[in-house]
Protein backbone atom coordinates (compact mmCIF):
# COMPACT_ATOMS: atom_id res chain seq x y z
CA UNK A 1 0.00 0.00 0.00
CA UNK A 2 1.31 3.45 -0.89
CA UNK A 3 2.17 5.63 2.05
CA UNK A 4 -0.47 8.26 2.73
CA UNK A 5 0.69 11.75 1.80
CA UNK A 6 0.39 14.42 4.41
CA UNK A 7 0.92 18.15 4.18
CA UNK A 8 1.17 21.03 6.65
CA UNK A 9 -0.09 24.55 6.03
CA UNK A 10 -0.33 27.67 8.12
CA UNK A 11 -2.38 30.80 8.30
CA UNK A 12 -2.44 33.55 10.92
CA UNK A 13 -0.96 32.10 14.07
CA UNK A 14 2.37 31.81 15.75
CA UNK A 15 3.53 28.54 14.21
CA UNK A 16 3.86 27.32 17.73
CA UNK A 17 2.10 24.15 16.73
CA UNK A 18 4.61 23.09 14.11
CA UNK A 19 7.18 23.69 16.77
CA UNK A 20 5.35 21.28 19.03
CA UNK A 21 5.37 18.67 16.32
CA UNK A 22 9.07 19.21 15.66
CA UNK A 23 9.52 18.65 19.39
CA UNK A 24 8.19 15.14 18.99
CA UNK A 25 11.31 14.38 16.96
CA UNK A 26 12.01 10.68 17.42
CA UNK A 27 8.39 9.73 17.76
CA UNK A 28 7.52 11.71 14.70
CA UNK A 29 10.08 9.77 12.69
CA UNK A 30 8.37 6.53 13.64
CA UNK A 31 4.95 7.80 12.79
CA UNK A 32 6.18 9.60 9.72
CA UNK A 33 7.71 6.34 8.63
CA UNK A 34 4.14 5.51 7.69
CA UNK A 35 3.56 8.66 5.69
CA UNK A 36 5.12 10.83 3.05
CA UNK A 37 5.29 14.51 3.97
CA UNK A 38 4.64 16.32 0.73
CA UNK A 39 4.50 19.90 1.81
CA UNK A 40 5.37 21.94 4.80
CA UNK A 41 3.53 25.25 4.69
CA UNK A 42 3.43 26.53 1.07
CA UNK A 43 0.55 25.73 -1.16
CA UNK A 44 0.67 26.47 -4.87
CA UNK A 45 -2.67 27.78 -6.00
CA UNK A 46 -4.06 26.40 -9.18
CA UNK A 47 -1.61 23.51 -8.97
CA UNK A 48 -3.64 20.39 -8.34
CA UNK A 49 -1.61 18.83 -5.65
CA UNK A 50 -3.14 16.03 -3.71
CA UNK A 51 -2.59 14.80 -0.22
CA UNK A 52 -4.47 12.39 1.98
CA UNK A 53 -4.26 14.48 5.11
CA UNK A 54 -3.79 18.23 5.33
CA UNK A 55 -2.91 19.63 8.74
CA UNK A 56 -3.77 23.29 8.77
CA UNK A 57 -2.87 25.74 11.49
CA UNK A 58 -3.73 29.37 12.03
CA UNK A 59 -6.99 31.23 11.77
CA UNK A 60 -8.53 32.92 8.78
CA UNK A 61 -8.14 36.69 8.93
CA UNK A 62 -8.16 37.89 5.32
CA UNK A 63 -10.34 37.29 2.30
CA UNK A 64 -7.42 35.81 0.35
CA UNK A 65 -6.91 33.24 3.11
CA UNK A 66 -10.29 31.84 2.21
CA UNK A 67 -9.27 31.19 -1.37
CA UNK A 68 -6.12 29.41 -0.29
CA UNK A 69 -7.94 27.35 2.33
CA UNK A 70 -10.61 26.27 -0.15
CA UNK A 71 -7.81 25.16 -2.48
CA UNK A 72 -6.31 23.06 0.31
CA UNK A 73 -9.70 21.59 1.08
CA UNK A 74 -10.16 20.60 -2.54
CA UNK A 75 -6.87 18.73 -2.61
CA UNK A 76 -7.16 17.03 0.76
CA UNK A 77 -9.08 13.87 1.56
CA UNK A 78 -8.95 14.70 5.25
CA UNK A 79 -8.49 18.21 6.60
CA UNK A 80 -7.35 18.56 10.18
CA UNK A 81 -7.38 21.84 12.06
CA UNK A 82 -4.20 22.09 14.10
CA UNK A 83 -4.20 24.23 17.21
CA UNK A 84 -6.52 26.74 18.79
CA UNK A 85 -6.31 29.36 16.03
CA UNK A 86 -7.35 26.89 13.34
CA UNK A 87 -9.86 24.97 15.45
CA UNK A 88 -11.63 27.75 17.31
CA UNK A 89 -10.17 31.04 16.07
CA UNK A 90 -8.21 31.32 19.27
CA UNK A 91 -6.31 34.34 20.44
CA UNK A 92 -6.57 35.97 17.03
CA UNK A 93 -10.22 36.54 17.75
CA UNK A 94 -9.29 38.98 20.52
CA UNK A 95 -9.01 41.55 17.79
CA UNK A 96 -12.64 41.04 16.96
CA UNK A 97 -13.42 42.91 20.16
CA UNK A 98 -11.07 45.80 19.46
CA UNK A 99 -11.51 48.77 17.21
CA UNK A 100 -9.60 48.31 13.96
CA UNK A 101 -7.16 51.14 14.67
CA UNK A 102 -6.39 50.02 18.21
CA UNK A 103 -5.75 46.51 17.04
CA UNK A 104 -3.60 47.65 14.14
CA UNK A 105 -1.59 49.82 16.47
CA UNK A 106 -1.05 46.90 18.86
CA UNK A 107 -0.08 44.42 16.25
CA UNK A 108 1.90 46.45 13.77
CA UNK A 109 2.95 49.39 15.94
CA UNK A 110 3.24 52.84 14.36
CA UNK A 111 4.18 51.52 10.96
CA UNK A 112 0.70 50.26 10.30
CA UNK A 113 1.13 48.52 6.99
CA UNK A 114 -2.19 48.28 5.37
CA UNK A 115 -3.74 45.16 4.09
CA UNK A 116 -7.34 44.19 4.50
CA UNK A 117 -8.15 41.94 7.42
CA UNK A 118 -11.52 40.99 8.80
CA UNK A 119 -12.81 39.35 11.93
CA UNK A 120 -10.58 36.34 12.66
CA UNK A 121 -12.34 33.01 12.36
CA UNK A 122 -11.62 29.31 12.65
CA UNK A 123 -11.21 27.11 9.57
CA UNK A 124 -14.61 25.53 10.10
CA UNK A 125 -16.38 28.78 9.33
CA UNK A 126 -14.90 28.64 5.82
CA UNK A 127 -14.58 24.94 4.91
CA UNK A 128 -15.56 21.54 6.25
CA UNK A 129 -13.08 20.39 8.87
CA UNK A 130 -12.81 16.64 9.39
CA UNK A 131 -10.89 16.59 12.64
CA UNK A 132 -9.31 18.87 15.19
CA UNK A 133 -6.18 18.79 17.26
CA UNK A 134 -7.23 21.60 19.59
CA UNK A 135 -5.12 23.52 22.07
CA UNK A 136 -2.68 26.38 22.35
CA UNK A 137 -0.18 25.04 21.90
CA UNK A 138 -1.28 21.61 20.73
CA UNK A 139 -0.36 18.66 22.91
CA UNK A 140 2.22 16.69 20.93
CA UNK A 141 1.04 13.47 22.55
CA UNK A 142 -2.48 14.09 21.35
CA UNK A 143 -1.23 15.07 17.91
CA UNK A 144 0.65 11.78 17.72
CA UNK A 145 -2.40 9.79 18.80
CA UNK A 146 -4.70 11.53 16.34
CA UNK A 147 -2.25 11.05 13.49
CA UNK A 148 -2.02 7.36 14.33
CA UNK A 149 -5.78 7.06 14.42
CA UNK A 150 -6.02 8.64 10.99
CA UNK A 151 -3.35 6.27 9.69
CA UNK A 152 -5.26 3.30 11.06
CA UNK A 153 -8.31 4.52 9.21
CA UNK A 154 -10.51 5.81 11.97
CA UNK A 155 -12.07 9.18 12.56
CA UNK A 156 -9.98 10.65 15.38
CA UNK A 157 -11.42 10.65 18.83
CA UNK A 158 -11.30 13.81 20.90
CA UNK A 159 -12.86 14.10 24.33
CA UNK A 160 -16.42 15.39 24.41
CA UNK A 161 -16.28 16.17 28.12
CA UNK A 162 -14.89 19.12 30.08
CA UNK A 163 -11.35 19.57 31.40
CA UNK A 164 -12.65 18.90 34.94
CA UNK A 165 -12.71 15.17 34.15
CA UNK A 166 -8.98 15.05 33.50
CA UNK A 167 -8.37 17.48 36.32
CA UNK A 168 -10.07 15.10 38.75
CA UNK A 169 -8.21 12.17 37.27
CA UNK A 170 -5.02 14.08 37.99
CA UNK A 171 -6.18 14.67 41.57
CA UNK A 172 -5.74 18.46 41.48
CA UNK A 173 -7.38 20.68 44.06
CA UNK A 174 -10.08 22.59 42.20
CA UNK A 175 -9.32 26.27 41.63
CA UNK A 176 -12.84 27.18 42.73
CA UNK A 177 -12.21 25.54 46.10
CA UNK A 178 -9.23 27.85 46.38
CA UNK A 179 -11.39 30.86 45.61
CA UNK A 180 -10.05 31.19 42.07
CA UNK A 181 -11.44 31.20 38.56
CA UNK A 182 -11.13 28.42 35.99
CA UNK A 183 -12.63 27.72 32.56
CA UNK A 184 -12.22 23.95 32.85
CA UNK A 185 -15.95 23.63 33.49
CA UNK A 186 -16.80 24.57 29.89
CA UNK A 187 -13.63 23.65 28.01
CA UNK A 188 -13.05 20.49 26.00
CA UNK A 189 -10.67 18.11 27.73
CA UNK A 190 -7.69 16.38 26.13
CA UNK A 191 -4.77 18.32 27.62
CA UNK A 192 -4.84 16.32 30.88
CA UNK A 193 -5.74 19.61 32.57
CA UNK A 194 -2.19 20.75 31.94
CA UNK A 195 -2.56 24.30 33.22
CA UNK A 196 -4.27 23.37 36.47
CA UNK A 197 -1.75 20.62 37.11
CA UNK A 198 1.00 23.19 36.66
CA UNK A 199 -0.60 25.46 39.22
CA UNK A 200 -2.48 27.89 36.97
CA UNK A 201 -6.07 27.59 35.75
CA UNK A 202 -7.74 26.66 32.49
CA UNK A 203 -7.95 29.44 29.89
CA UNK A 204 -10.20 27.57 27.52
CA UNK A 205 -7.61 27.05 24.80
CA UNK A 206 -9.21 23.82 23.58
CA UNK A 207 -12.53 25.46 22.86
CA UNK A 208 -15.96 24.89 24.27
CA UNK A 209 -16.99 21.38 25.17
CA UNK A 210 -20.09 20.30 23.18
CA UNK A 211 -23.17 21.27 25.14
CA UNK A 212 -21.26 23.65 27.45
CA UNK A 213 -23.66 25.17 29.98
CA UNK A 214 -22.58 28.78 29.60
CA UNK A 215 -25.35 30.27 31.72
CA UNK A 216 -24.43 28.05 34.62
CA UNK A 217 -20.73 28.75 34.12
CA UNK A 218 -21.34 32.50 34.33
CA UNK A 219 -23.25 32.05 37.57
CA UNK A 220 -20.47 29.86 38.97
CA UNK A 221 -17.89 32.52 38.12
CA UNK A 222 -20.12 35.24 39.53
CA UNK A 223 -20.52 33.38 42.79
CA UNK A 224 -16.78 32.81 42.94
CA UNK A 225 -16.41 36.56 43.04
CA UNK A 226 -15.24 37.30 39.52
CA UNK A 227 -16.56 40.64 38.32
CA UNK A 228 -18.25 40.85 34.93
CA UNK A 229 -15.24 42.42 33.24
CA UNK A 230 -12.82 39.78 34.49
CA UNK A 231 -15.19 37.00 33.40
CA UNK A 232 -15.60 38.56 29.99
CA UNK A 233 -11.87 39.00 29.48
CA UNK A 234 -11.27 35.40 30.41
CA UNK A 235 -13.98 34.19 28.07
CA UNK A 236 -12.72 36.33 25.19
CA UNK A 237 -9.14 35.18 25.50
CA UNK A 238 -9.56 31.96 23.56
CA UNK A 239 -13.28 31.64 23.09
CA UNK A 240 -13.76 34.86 21.12
CA UNK A 241 -15.40 33.07 18.22
CA UNK A 242 -17.94 31.25 20.40
CA UNK A 243 -21.13 32.27 22.09
CA UNK A 244 -19.25 32.27 25.39
CA UNK A 245 -17.55 35.57 24.69
CA UNK A 246 -20.58 37.81 24.27
Amino acid sequence: MAKPKIAFFDFAGCEGDQLQIANLEERLLDILGHVEVVSFREVVTGHSDDYDVAFVEGSITRPEDEIRLKEIRKNAKVLVALGACAAIGGINCLKNFMAENVYREEVYGGSARWFPTYAARPLKSVVKVDAEVPGCPIDPVEFARITKELLQGRAPWIPDFPVCVECKQAGNVCRYEMGKMCLGIITRAGCKAACVTEGAHCWGCRGLVPGANLDAARIVMDRAGSDRKATQDLLRFFLGDTGAAL
Partner: protein, 277 residues
Amino acid sequence: MNTKLFSPYVPRPVTLVEKTPLSDFVTRFTFEQDNGKPLAHKPGQFVNLSIYGIGEAPFSISSPPRRTNITFEIAVRKIGAVTSALHALEPGAKVGIRGPYGSSFPVMKFVGKDILIVAGGLGYIPLRSLLFYQLRHRDEFGRMILMVGTRDPKERIFVDEIADLAKSGDVEVLETVDMPDSTWKGNVGVITTLLPKAELDPGNTFVAMVGPPIMYRFVIAECRKKGIASEQIFVSLERKMKCGLGKCGHCQINELNTCIDGPVFCYTDIEAYQEAI
Protein backbone atom coordinates in the same frame (compact mmCIF):
# COMPACT_ATOMS: atom_id res chain seq x y z
CA MET B 1 -5.67 -22.47 30.29
CA ASN B 2 -3.45 -20.84 32.83
CA THR B 3 -6.16 -19.31 34.99
CA LYS B 4 -3.61 -17.03 36.56
CA LEU B 5 -3.38 -15.19 33.29
CA PHE B 6 -7.10 -15.09 32.68
CA SER B 7 -8.75 -11.73 32.25
CA PRO B 8 -12.29 -11.25 30.98
CA TYR B 9 -11.08 -8.24 28.98
CA VAL B 10 -8.91 -10.33 26.65
CA PRO B 11 -10.54 -11.13 23.30
CA ARG B 12 -9.68 -14.25 21.30
CA PRO B 13 -8.95 -14.23 17.58
CA VAL B 14 -11.48 -15.19 14.92
CA THR B 15 -11.03 -15.06 11.15
CA LEU B 16 -13.29 -13.37 8.65
CA VAL B 17 -14.30 -15.95 6.05
CA GLU B 18 -17.06 -14.23 4.14
CA LYS B 19 -18.41 -10.74 3.62
CA THR B 20 -21.79 -10.16 1.94
CA PRO B 21 -23.28 -6.71 1.39
CA LEU B 22 -26.94 -6.59 2.43
CA SER B 23 -27.71 -2.96 1.65
CA ASP B 24 -25.80 0.28 1.10
CA PHE B 25 -24.71 0.40 4.73
CA VAL B 26 -25.25 -3.09 6.11
CA THR B 27 -22.97 -6.07 5.54
CA ARG B 28 -23.06 -9.63 6.77
CA PHE B 29 -19.76 -10.97 8.14
CA THR B 30 -19.08 -14.66 8.65
CA PHE B 31 -16.29 -15.53 11.05
CA GLU B 32 -14.58 -18.75 11.96
CA GLN B 33 -13.31 -19.31 15.48
CA ASP B 34 -9.55 -19.78 15.53
CA ASN B 35 -9.89 -22.08 18.54
CA GLY B 36 -11.70 -24.59 16.35
CA LYS B 37 -14.78 -24.69 18.56
CA PRO B 38 -18.37 -23.66 17.88
CA LEU B 39 -19.33 -20.33 19.41
CA ALA B 40 -21.91 -22.03 21.67
CA HIS B 41 -24.23 -19.06 21.93
CA LYS B 42 -27.96 -18.85 22.51
CA PRO B 43 -30.32 -16.88 20.25
CA GLY B 44 -30.32 -13.22 21.27
CA GLN B 45 -26.79 -13.08 22.68
CA PHE B 46 -24.05 -10.81 21.40
CA VAL B 47 -20.28 -10.69 21.04
CA ASN B 48 -17.92 -7.79 21.69
CA LEU B 49 -15.82 -7.44 18.58
CA SER B 50 -12.38 -5.79 18.62
CA ILE B 51 -10.45 -4.27 15.80
CA TYR B 52 -7.18 -3.44 17.45
CA GLY B 53 -6.16 0.16 17.21
CA ILE B 54 -9.77 1.18 16.58
CA GLY B 55 -11.87 -0.20 19.41
CA GLU B 56 -14.44 -2.70 20.52
CA ALA B 57 -18.20 -2.80 19.91
CA PRO B 58 -21.10 -5.18 20.63
CA PHE B 59 -22.92 -7.04 17.85
CA SER B 60 -25.75 -9.50 17.99
CA ILE B 61 -25.02 -12.95 16.73
CA SER B 62 -27.17 -13.38 13.67
CA SER B 63 -26.65 -17.06 12.98
CA PRO B 64 -28.46 -19.77 14.94
CA PRO B 65 -26.47 -21.85 17.45
CA ARG B 66 -24.41 -24.49 15.67
CA ARG B 67 -23.31 -27.73 17.25
CA THR B 68 -20.27 -28.58 15.19
CA ASN B 69 -19.88 -25.71 12.75
CA ILE B 70 -17.26 -23.25 13.99
CA THR B 71 -18.53 -20.28 12.02
CA PHE B 72 -20.92 -17.58 13.16
CA GLU B 73 -22.41 -14.52 11.55
CA ILE B 74 -23.04 -10.92 12.45
CA ALA B 75 -24.59 -8.23 10.29
CA VAL B 76 -23.39 -4.69 10.81
CA ARG B 77 -24.42 -1.22 9.86
CA LYS B 78 -21.53 1.12 9.03
CA ILE B 79 -21.98 4.04 11.37
CA GLY B 80 -18.81 4.79 13.36
CA ALA B 81 -15.21 3.87 14.06
CA VAL B 82 -15.36 0.11 14.63
CA THR B 83 -18.15 -0.57 12.16
CA SER B 84 -16.33 1.35 9.41
CA ALA B 85 -13.06 -0.43 10.08
CA LEU B 86 -14.92 -3.73 9.99
CA HIS B 87 -16.35 -2.90 6.59
CA ALA B 88 -12.84 -2.25 5.32
CA LEU B 89 -11.70 -5.81 6.17
CA GLU B 90 -11.43 -8.57 3.62
CA PRO B 91 -11.77 -12.33 4.13
CA GLY B 92 -8.70 -13.73 5.83
CA ALA B 93 -8.47 -10.81 8.21
CA LYS B 94 -8.55 -11.49 11.93
CA VAL B 95 -10.46 -9.65 14.62
CA GLY B 96 -10.86 -10.27 18.34
CA ILE B 97 -14.07 -11.29 20.06
CA ARG B 98 -15.27 -11.66 23.63
CA GLY B 99 -18.46 -13.46 24.48
CA PRO B 100 -21.07 -14.66 23.74
CA TYR B 101 -22.55 -12.36 26.35
CA GLY B 102 -25.97 -11.50 27.71
CA SER B 103 -29.36 -13.11 28.06
CA SER B 104 -31.20 -14.95 25.31
CA PHE B 105 -34.69 -15.69 24.08
CA PRO B 106 -36.16 -18.49 26.24
CA VAL B 107 -36.68 -20.95 23.41
CA MET B 108 -37.76 -23.75 25.74
CA LYS B 109 -40.74 -21.64 26.79
CA PHE B 110 -41.75 -21.27 23.16
CA VAL B 111 -42.02 -25.03 22.59
CA GLY B 112 -45.53 -25.97 21.50
CA LYS B 113 -46.53 -22.31 21.23
CA ASP B 114 -47.08 -19.89 18.38
CA ILE B 115 -44.37 -17.30 17.95
CA LEU B 116 -44.72 -13.79 16.58
CA ILE B 117 -41.38 -12.28 15.59
CA VAL B 118 -41.46 -8.51 15.12
CA ALA B 119 -38.38 -7.05 13.41
CA GLY B 120 -38.04 -3.29 12.94
CA GLY B 121 -35.11 -2.05 10.87
CA LEU B 122 -31.96 -3.93 11.85
CA GLY B 123 -33.94 -5.89 14.44
CA TYR B 124 -34.08 -8.80 12.03
CA ILE B 125 -30.35 -9.38 12.65
CA PRO B 126 -30.58 -10.82 16.18
CA LEU B 127 -34.02 -12.32 15.57
CA ARG B 128 -32.57 -14.38 12.72
CA SER B 129 -30.73 -16.43 15.28
CA LEU B 130 -34.00 -17.31 17.01
CA LEU B 131 -35.91 -17.78 13.77
CA PHE B 132 -33.47 -20.27 12.28
CA TYR B 133 -33.09 -22.12 15.54
CA GLN B 134 -36.85 -22.63 15.59
CA LEU B 135 -36.92 -23.58 11.93
CA ARG B 136 -34.35 -26.26 12.56
CA HIS B 137 -36.73 -27.69 15.17
CA ARG B 138 -39.83 -26.65 13.23
CA ASP B 139 -42.06 -29.49 14.54
CA GLU B 140 -41.61 -28.42 18.14
CA PHE B 141 -43.29 -25.06 17.63
CA GLY B 142 -46.73 -23.89 16.59
CA ARG B 143 -47.33 -21.17 14.03
CA MET B 144 -44.41 -18.90 13.22
CA ILE B 145 -45.28 -15.39 12.13
CA LEU B 146 -42.63 -12.91 11.04
CA MET B 147 -43.35 -9.19 10.74
CA VAL B 148 -40.71 -7.01 9.16
CA GLY B 149 -40.80 -3.22 9.01
CA THR B 150 -38.25 -1.03 7.26
CA ARG B 151 -38.10 2.70 6.71
CA ASP B 152 -37.76 2.53 2.94
CA PRO B 153 -37.33 -0.32 0.44
CA LYS B 154 -33.65 0.47 -0.13
CA GLU B 155 -32.90 -0.33 3.51
CA ARG B 156 -34.40 -3.80 3.46
CA ILE B 157 -31.92 -6.49 4.42
CA PHE B 158 -31.94 -10.27 3.86
CA VAL B 159 -34.52 -9.67 1.12
CA ASP B 160 -34.09 -13.01 -0.67
CA GLU B 161 -33.93 -14.96 2.55
CA ILE B 162 -37.17 -13.45 3.79
CA ALA B 163 -38.82 -14.12 0.42
CA ASP B 164 -37.70 -17.76 0.61
CA LEU B 165 -39.10 -18.06 4.12
CA ALA B 166 -42.45 -16.79 2.89
CA LYS B 167 -42.41 -19.28 0.03
CA SER B 168 -41.42 -22.21 2.25
CA GLY B 169 -44.70 -22.03 4.10
CA ASP B 170 -42.91 -22.62 7.41
CA VAL B 171 -43.25 -18.98 8.37
CA GLU B 172 -46.07 -16.54 7.71
CA VAL B 173 -44.36 -13.36 6.58
CA LEU B 174 -45.84 -9.87 6.70
CA GLU B 175 -43.74 -6.95 5.56
CA THR B 176 -44.16 -3.20 5.41
CA VAL B 177 -42.15 -0.06 4.64
CA ASP B 178 -42.74 3.43 6.07
CA MET B 179 -41.77 5.36 2.96
CA PRO B 180 -42.44 3.43 -0.26
CA ASP B 181 -40.79 4.19 -3.58
CA SER B 182 -42.00 3.29 -7.08
CA THR B 183 -40.61 -0.27 -6.82
CA TRP B 184 -42.57 -1.13 -3.70
CA LYS B 185 -45.75 -3.14 -4.14
CA GLY B 186 -46.35 -4.29 -0.56
CA ASN B 187 -47.79 -2.85 2.66
CA VAL B 188 -47.12 0.74 3.55
CA GLY B 189 -46.99 2.11 7.07
CA VAL B 190 -45.15 1.64 10.34
CA ILE B 191 -44.75 -1.87 11.67
CA THR B 192 -47.63 -1.51 14.13
CA THR B 193 -50.04 -1.45 11.19
CA LEU B 194 -49.18 -5.10 10.54
CA LEU B 195 -50.48 -6.36 13.86
CA PRO B 196 -54.18 -5.96 13.18
CA LYS B 197 -53.61 -7.90 9.94
CA ALA B 198 -52.64 -11.08 11.77
CA GLU B 199 -55.08 -13.47 13.43
CA LEU B 200 -53.41 -14.49 16.68
CA ASP B 201 -54.31 -16.86 19.47
CA PRO B 202 -53.36 -14.50 22.31
CA GLY B 203 -53.21 -17.12 25.06
CA ASN B 204 -50.91 -19.33 23.02
CA THR B 205 -48.60 -16.78 21.37
CA PHE B 206 -45.19 -15.56 22.43
CA VAL B 207 -43.78 -12.40 20.94
CA ALA B 208 -40.10 -11.66 20.28
CA MET B 209 -39.35 -8.15 19.09
CA VAL B 210 -36.28 -6.12 18.25
CA GLY B 211 -36.23 -2.69 16.67
CA PRO B 212 -35.47 0.96 17.22
CA PRO B 213 -36.31 2.38 20.68
CA ILE B 214 -39.51 4.10 19.56
CA MET B 215 -40.96 0.92 18.09
CA TYR B 216 -41.39 -0.98 21.34
CA ARG B 217 -44.01 1.13 23.05
CA PHE B 218 -46.34 1.02 20.07
CA VAL B 219 -45.92 -2.64 19.22
CA ILE B 220 -46.33 -3.65 22.84
CA ALA B 221 -49.52 -1.59 23.07
CA GLU B 222 -50.87 -3.38 19.97
CA CYS B 223 -49.97 -6.78 21.45
CA ARG B 224 -51.69 -5.93 24.72
CA LYS B 225 -54.73 -4.82 22.75
CA LYS B 226 -54.79 -8.26 21.20
CA GLY B 227 -54.80 -9.79 24.65
CA ILE B 228 -51.19 -10.97 24.76
CA ALA B 229 -49.90 -10.82 28.34
CA SER B 230 -46.65 -9.06 29.35
CA GLU B 231 -45.11 -12.40 30.34
CA GLN B 232 -45.43 -13.55 26.74
CA ILE B 233 -43.54 -10.57 25.30
CA PHE B 234 -39.74 -10.58 24.91
CA VAL B 235 -37.73 -7.61 23.74
CA SER B 236 -34.04 -7.02 23.11
CA LEU B 237 -32.83 -3.59 24.15
CA GLU B 238 -29.79 -1.71 22.94
CA ARG B 239 -27.65 0.56 25.09
CA LYS B 240 -24.16 2.00 24.97
CA MET B 241 -21.79 -0.78 25.96
CA LYS B 242 -18.16 -0.99 26.84
CA CYS B 243 -17.23 -3.89 29.12
CA GLY B 244 -20.03 -6.41 28.52
CA LEU B 245 -19.41 -7.68 32.06
CA GLY B 246 -21.65 -5.55 34.25
CA LYS B 247 -18.77 -3.37 35.42
CA CYS B 248 -18.45 -0.18 33.40
CA GLY B 249 -21.93 1.21 34.02
CA HIS B 250 -22.62 2.43 30.48
CA CYS B 251 -25.48 0.12 29.63
CA GLN B 252 -27.67 0.81 32.64
CA ILE B 253 -31.45 0.88 32.46
CA ASN B 254 -32.32 2.07 35.94
CA GLU B 255 -30.44 -0.53 38.00
CA LEU B 256 -30.30 -3.19 35.29
CA ASN B 257 -27.16 -3.80 33.28
CA THR B 258 -28.26 -4.43 29.71
CA CYS B 259 -25.07 -6.40 29.03
CA ILE B 260 -25.67 -9.07 31.67
CA ASP B 261 -29.34 -8.75 32.68
CA GLY B 262 -30.23 -8.23 28.99
CA PRO B 263 -30.19 -7.54 26.13
CA VAL B 264 -33.22 -9.86 26.01
CA PHE B 265 -35.81 -9.04 28.65
CA CYS B 266 -39.25 -10.36 29.39
CA TYR B 267 -41.52 -7.34 29.27
CA THR B 268 -42.86 -8.02 32.79
CA ASP B 269 -39.34 -7.64 34.15
CA ILE B 270 -38.84 -4.16 32.73
CA GLU B 271 -42.36 -2.76 32.65
CA ALA B 272 -41.73 -0.87 35.89
CA TYR B 273 -38.42 0.64 34.78
CA GLN B 274 -38.89 4.17 33.51
CA GLU B 275 -35.71 4.12 31.45
CA ALA B 276 -36.43 0.84 29.68
CA ILE B 277 -38.92 1.66 26.95
